[in-house]
């Protein structure tokens, strides 16, 4: 019994120490939010009013959208506001949080989220999210910002979040191509309740001067023509922009080499294409500014340096 | 026994074989030297040392080697 107690105390102290160290390592700008919230809403790691556009969505987004690519090629500051199996309500919450610290001018919304039924919420996702507050140790490389500074003074930038919401997973599993966007008369229904939330999102964007763009990123497994058709209706109803990257494969996604799990999620190479497309869209419509030569954004350059080390072989 | 120590000294003169008790574990005899040692012993004492007997415990001191030889002589 004594030993059980002892182990418990040991683990408790360990947990506290890890939490304390996390506070030291995570880019931290606002004490209003807890570590748990930061790990859930990663955009909180960015300095106030630096991110100009956000891409809200589920795992499709953290696989398909890499803000660092946009930064390097276009100089726009973007962020992937993604959680796995995100519900439309979560998307709305994320939007609110993002707008609290940033004032994005553009919001892209991955349309797959609109079809996710809140009833099908998997019970363990909440626990998974709690576990992900330990995931905060992924910022552990920020020790370089405040240790051994006599060797080379690296403190001119603050601690950084390198991936900006993107998850780099080095994996490729080919998919067999099938015509998943075959024309059909059918229309997939949007789950009840989601329409109200969608309405809320549109209103929130209008109030805060955020341009809302609906995007469907390349995805063979869960996207279909009938979903496309439904979103077309929705778009007309609200007068929004809708870009479907699945129709006629405009990005030329190679499903043999550019997906990490047989057509469900894109891998890094697919993400580069999607990110460049988004950058191009922002540029042609003249929606945001190029910050590459702005001193205030130098930490983005530094992030890119670390980023390029880890993704390019 | 004297003969044995003579053989050992020819192979590696840097060791005091009357006292040393870690010939193998202390790396005074490496595997090639053990080979020469075995062939010398086999010629000198007319015994055959089977591979199963070549374990550090049997070769760690001159005394142990001598015990092995006498044991093998008896077995024949």
């Amino acid at each position: 019994m004594k030993n059980v107690l002892k182990s418990f105390v040991f683990l408790l102290i360990l947990f506290i120490l890890v939490e304390l160290i996390s506070y030291a390592l995570v880019p931290y700008h606002n004490l209003k939010y807890s570590l748990y919230e930061i790990s859930k809403y990663e955009i909180l790691t960015e300095e106030k009013d630096t991110v100009d556009s956000i891409f809200v969505g589920d795992s499709l987004i953290y696989s398909a959208f890499s803000p660092m690519e946009v930064w390097n090629n276009y100089g726009f500051t973007t962020f992937a506001c993604a959680n796995s199996a995100q519900l439309l309500e979560d998307a709305y919450n994320y939007l609110e949080i993002a707008n609290d610290t940033q004032h994005p001018k553009v919001m892209f919304l991955e349309t797959n989220v609109i079809f996710r039924n809140p009833k099908n919420k998997v019970w363990y996702y909440d626990y998974k999210n709690i576990m992900s507050s330990l995931y905060i140790i992924n910022y552990h490389n920020n020790w370089k910002k405040f240790m051994f500074n006599f060797l080379n003074n690296d403190t001119k930038f603050s601690k950084v979040n390198v991936y900006k919401g993107f998850k780099y997973i080095d994996k490729t599993q080919s998919a067999k191509y099938r015509d998943y966007m075959k024309y059909s008369e059918k229309i997939t229904e949007i789950p009840k309740g989601n329409l109200d939330i969608f309405d809320k999102i549109v209103k929130y964007c209008n109030q805060n001067n955020i341009k809302l763009v609906l995007v469907s990123t390349p995805n063979m497994k869960s996207w279909s023509y009938s979903k496309h058709a439904r979103i077309l209706n929705l778009k007309d109803e609200y007068g929004l922009d809708f870009i479907d990257l699945n129709i006629d494969n405009p990005l030329g996604i190679d499903w043999k080499t550019e997906t990490r799990d047989k057509g469900n999620h894109l891998n890094y190479y697919g993400a580069v294409k999607v990110s460049n497309f988004i950058g191009d869209y922002l540029k042609t419509n003249n929606l945001v500014k190029d910050h590459r030569n702005d001193k205030k954004y130098e930490s983005w350059n530094e992030s890119y340096e670390i980023y390029s080390k880890s993704v390019i072989k | 026994m004297e003969k044995l120590i003579q053989i050992l000294e020819e192979l590696n003169p840097e060791v005091d074989y009357n006292t040393c008790e870690d010939l193998v574990d202390g790396r005074h005899l490496d595997s090639l030297t053990i080979l020469s040692l075995i062939s010398e012993i086999e010629d000198e004492f007319d015994v055959v040392i089977p591979t199963t007997e070549i374990i550090p415990a049997n070769f760690n001191s001159a005394k142990k080697i001598w015990e092995l030889i006498t044991r093998l002589e008896e077995e024949i």
Binding site: N138, H140, N152, S310 | S31, L32, L35, S39
Partner: protein, 529 residues
């Protein structure tokens, strides 16, 4: 998958420990066996069939040999005459030999099929092409069961030891199955002998608090070596070995040095994890490393590095070959012609050649590995030829070979030779290996040294961490080499110091570990052999 993940160490292992502890003593070995099979199934899927086949084959062969021994002993009791006894012995030995050879062939054929068939067909096709014969054999590609090189050697040692009556083959099937597939050792060894672990592996002793703590401490030490040092050096090594022409000789040499460090940290770190995990279940495994970089010559190095592989080759290849009848005959001839020194060199030559050919091949079916084997063969053999001359010269020059400077010089020389050896081992092709070695010797300039070292994706703070961590590992090695039990002495300190040390170790893995953004972890190197 490797042993280092969160799942095996912090989900799978704790679960096994809990189930193991709550069930009664008698069932516990079965728990370990089932856990081992589940683990193997996770890493190798259906290929688990081959481990089970191997285990069953040695179990049955062992029992048959035991029966033969029993029959023989019965007969021997009745007979008095020496000559007749000899006759009976040799007759029964022959019967056992048939069983032995058949079972070894059965086991080795799997190994050959999975690991070498591919390589040999490719080589054979090359020969055919060279001879202008327009035919090529089909190359069959398949995945090998992980750890096959390790458990096949264990199977052979079980068979040979049974044959030589060094061990009594067990009739406890759980024990034999568990011996081959015990989950901590299945992937990367250490290569154990049946009599080393047979009593502890099936004892079913309860997991004690003490064992649990000690085991996990060792596991964390292994994690430290892997995450903080090995993984950090990986990118550097990868870059050098894939494009060595872009770098000067010194930097290439550092590639070889870092690779050697990486290999040592990865492999010995795995061993810490493996030995620690076994310790929890009261199974004491043999050590696989004993401060290899304190070796004074290559043959000593191999008695300190991957020890269980070295002793396996010594016991089952080196002595059997060198003391086999035909080698002895040849050696006898040389003895008549020259002297006993020459004859033992001949015996050694043949045996060492066999050992290092197999050692090279064991590491992998590829020319770099074969070259790696012969490189060590040549170094060890030359060492033996020159040894008498060197000792004579030293005597004449009155150099005390035990003095510190002489010893350190030998250690430095050996370590350098090891770096070159591991370079050959890591190089993708023999051409790259020779090219790199050439570059080290012909392009040895410090001109761009600093900028090159910093261009290889490690910054100065990474180097600082590597150096500090290596000092920690070095100090612990020195203490161990002096015969001190580091964990035991830490456990005697008071709780504040003790726990602070543990927290320091765990937190430094979390903070300084080279994982996540900007790093690429090392794949388990030995698991593929």
């Amino acid at each position: 998958m490797s042993y280092f993940g969160l799942f095996p160490l912090f989900v799978f292992l704790p679960l096994v420990i809990i189930i193991y502890n709550i069930l009664p003593k008698k069932v516990r070995p079965i728990v370990l066996l089932i856990a081992s099979y589940i683990f193997f199934y996770i890493i190798s899927n259906k290929l688990i069939v081959f481990v089970i086949l191997s285990s069953l084959s040695i179990y049955i062969a062992g029992l048959i040999m035991r029966e033969i021994d029993k029959d023989r002993d019965k007969l021997l009791e009745k007979v008095q005459e020496k000559e007749e006894k000899k006759l009976i012995k040799s007759k029964y030995k022959k019967r056992k030999k048939v069983i032995l050879i058949l079972t070894i062939l059965f086991n080795v054929s799997f190994l050959f099929f999975f690991k070498y068939l591919n390589f040999f067909t490719l080589t054979f096709n090359d020969i055919l092409k060279f001879l202008n014969i327009d035919y090529s054999f089909k190359v069959i590609k398949h995945l090998a069961p992980i750890g096959i090189s390790f458990y096949t050697l264990e199977a052979i040692s079980y068979l040979v030891d049974s044959y030589n009556e060094k061990i009594v083959p067990s009739n406890n099937i759980i024990k034999v199955l568990l011996y081959l597939s015990f989950f901590p050792t299945i992937m990367e060894g250490p290569i154990t002998r049946f009599n080393e672990i047979d009593s502890s592996i099936c004892s079913g002793e309860k997991v004690t608090y003490h064992n649990l703590c000690f085991g996990y401490q060792r596991i964390f030490y292994g994690l430290f070596k892997k995450y903080v040092i090995a993984d950090r050096l990986n990118i550097f090594v990868k870059l050098i070995f894939s494009s060595y022409l872009n770098y000067s000789g010194v930097t290439v040499l550092f590639g070889a040095i870092f690779y050697t460090i990486l290999l040592y940290m990865e492999f010995s770190g795995t061993m810490d994890v493996v030995i620690g995990a076994s310790e929890i279940f009261n199974v004491k495994l043999p050590e696989n490393f004993k401060a290899p970089f304190f070796s004074k010559n290559i043959s000593e190095f191999w008695s300190r590095w991957h020890i269980t592989l070295g002793t396996w080759f010594k016991d089952y290849i080196f002595y059997p070959v060198s003391l086999s009848k035909c080698v002895k005959k040849v050696a006898g001839l040389f003895k008549k012609l020259f002297n006993s020194h020459v004859s033992s060199l001949v015996m050694g030559f043949v045996a060492l050649f066999a050992v290092w050919s197999l050692n090279g091949l064991w590491h992998g079916a590829g020319w770099t590995f074969i070259l790696f084997g012969y490189y060590h063969f040549i170094l060890i053999f030359l060492g033996n030829i020159f040894e008498p001359f060197i000792s004579k010269i030293c005597l004449k020059l009155k150099i005390n070979r035990n003095n510190r400077i002489y010893k350190s010089l030998r250690i430095i020389k050996t370590t350098f030779l090891v770096f070159i050896g591991e370079l050959i081992f890591r190089a993708p092709t023999v051409n790259v290996a020779t090219g790199m070695i050439k570059r080290i010797f012909t392009n040895f300039t410090f001109n761009n040294f600093g900028s090159e070292m910093l261009s290889l994706k490690l910054d100065i703070k990474d180097y600082a961490i590597v150096i500090i961590s290596l000092i920690v590992v070095f100090v612990i090695s020195v203490l161990k080499e002096k015969g001190k039990n580091v964990r035991e002495s830490i456990s005697k300190k008071n709780i504040v110091i003790r726990w602070s040390l543990y927290y320091l170790l765990i937190l430094s893995i979390i903070v300084f570990g080279a994982y996540g953004v900007g790093y690429q972890p090392v794949e388990p190197i030995y698991a593929d052999f």
